[in-house]
């Protein structure tokens, strides 16, 4: 009796998990299914999850109908530059906030991370005027440089740097090395997991960023993927097979990145979440 009760309980739990999982995954399967159908088979009623015959043409057509190659290139350039830049500035900042002992440090740090609460829509208009004044509209600079600095990234790395024992730092000081040596040869090499985590988060943020590129990019050839896909949708609004192929092409790189580096995603969320 006891055993079968346990069994029923387990069964119910699995059903809950399974229902949840189907809800999460099915839209993606539907996207891929539609993207592999032709205009004719996609709109057949009742719809089928399995495309037959499999129609690869959409994936070829979209590159011809819009400069998706160029959108990809732009997204990759912007995401990589933003990621590298933020890793550098944030690790500098995090080092100052964790390993340099100057008066007022912690107050300054709190003030800095408090600005995470400022909605982007507040600073966006003056930022746009600034970028216009610098003549960066339709340039990579506009997409990259404002995002090279981040209280969030500084916060994440500082949490990690704080956990590096002082004894390691002191040993360097006895040997006559300064902060620079300590930063470069002790703290950074020990912080690889945190740096990878931050790198992945920044890459994801940059890859998916939309409102700002929407505002500062007018020329089609400078659009990043999310803005480019909206441009594409505007022109082929009723061609769902094309749009689903384009959507899949936008989403899949990040899904792969996530599956490969899942541990870092989870750790990053836990690291910033629990101490928050």
């Amino acid at each position: 009796m006891e055993l079968s009760n346990q069994g029923i309980k387990k069964l119910i739990l699995y059903i809950i998990l399974l229902l949840g999982a189907i809800t999460m995954v099915f839209p993606f399967l539907w996207m891929i299914s539609t993207s592999l159908k032709s205009e004719v088979t996609a709109y057949v009623f009742p719809p089928s999850l399995f495309p037959y015959p499999i129609y690869w043409q959409n994936y070829i057509e979209i590159w011809r109908l819009a400069p998706f190659g160029r959108f990809y290139f732009n997204s990759i350039i912007v995401a990589i530059a933003t990621t590298l830049g933020q890793l550098i500035t944030c690790s500098f900042g995090a080092y100052a906030f964790s390993k340099c002992k100057f008066p007022g440090r912690d107050v300054l740090f709190l003030g800095y991370i408090a600005t995470m609460m400022v909605p982007f829509s507040v600073t966006m208009i003056p930022l746009f005027i600034l970028i216009k004044g610098l003549e960066w509209i339709d340039k990579y600079e506009a997409l990259i440089i404002p995002f090279l600095f981040s209280p969030y990234g500084t916060f994440l790395l500082r949490q990690f740097f704080m956990s590096i024992p002082e004894e390691l730092t002191d040993a360097i000081k006895i040997d006559g090395g300064g902060h620079w040596i300590n930063f470069l040869y002790v703290v950074i090499p020990l912080s690889k997991p945190a740096l990878v985590t931050l790198g992945i988060f920044v890459f994801m943020f940059s890859w998916n960023n939309f409102l700002w590129p929407l505002v500062v990019i007018n020329s089609t050839l400078m659009k990043t993927l999310p803005v480019g896909i909206m441009f594409f949708q505007g022109q082929y609004a009723v061609y769902w097979t094309y749009i689903m192929a384009a959507t899949a092409v936008t989403i899949i790189p990040l899904l792969i990145l996530f599956l490969l580096a899942q541990r870092y995603f989870i750790e990053g969320i836990t690291l910033t979440g629990l101490k928050g």
């Binding site: 998990l17 500035t89 600095f149 999310p226 749009i243």
Partner: protein
Amino acid sequence: MKLKKSQRNELISGLLFLTPNLLGFIIFTAGPLIVSLYYSFTHFGVLSSPKFCGLENYRQLFSDVLFQKALINTLYYTVGVVIPLIILSLVLAVVLNMRLKGYLLFRTLYFLPVVTSTIAISLLWRWIYDTNLGLINYILSILQLSPIDWLGSTTWAMPSIILMSIWKGLGYNIVLYMAGLQSVPSQLYEAATIDGASEWQKFIRITIPLISPTTFFILIMSIISSFQVFEQTYVMTRGGPVYSTTTLVYYIYLNGFQWFKMGYASSIAWVLFSIILIITIIQWIFQKKWVFYYGA
């Protein structure tokens, strides 16, 4: 006041390490923040320079029906997303935390929507919500129900956007809750079991109070981000039909970049910022009443 030599060195190195961040912060955050406050007191189109007009923009907000609608829509969205998000992610995290076989695979699947672009996901859901050929109306037709114009009706457009946003945000909060659950000491459950407590009693009396710091964190973060919802409405409805999904950030975008009323847009942005600030402060004050830090 004189600093010792070692202290002075610390200060100088600290400032050097901070220079890139501080410069970037001043130019791209602090500066624009102050300028935006100034703009909010001006008439400012794109071609003209800003002209000071005192509180006029703010006064205009009181009689702006669209602004009020955007504010109500944003509140509707926030309540509609945050409450189900907290309940669903807590329940799923508790089930996942029982570590049944394959629980990590489930966690992975729940997390998939989190990493994807909201723009792409919103396009995908537009297709799912499509009135004639969409998946959801197909399911309704199997159940002998008549189709619904999900994104084209003033009643259903917002709930449709809310549903998608819950779907997208669930995995992130599940991961936070799972981390929170792991910090609940297992002795408490063991002691409760010896005292004859039921599963439900343990959940209500132990789990909920002990993970309240996580709940507090999720509550604050999800309210802040929900108040800034933009991409979903931009892609799925363009704020329509009849402004029924126009949110505050969408209205800021309309004013600032479609109608070129940048001063007015700035004043809306500051109202948004003030609301977020006030709600967050209120939550900090009230956390003492319900957030419980174990061992503290």
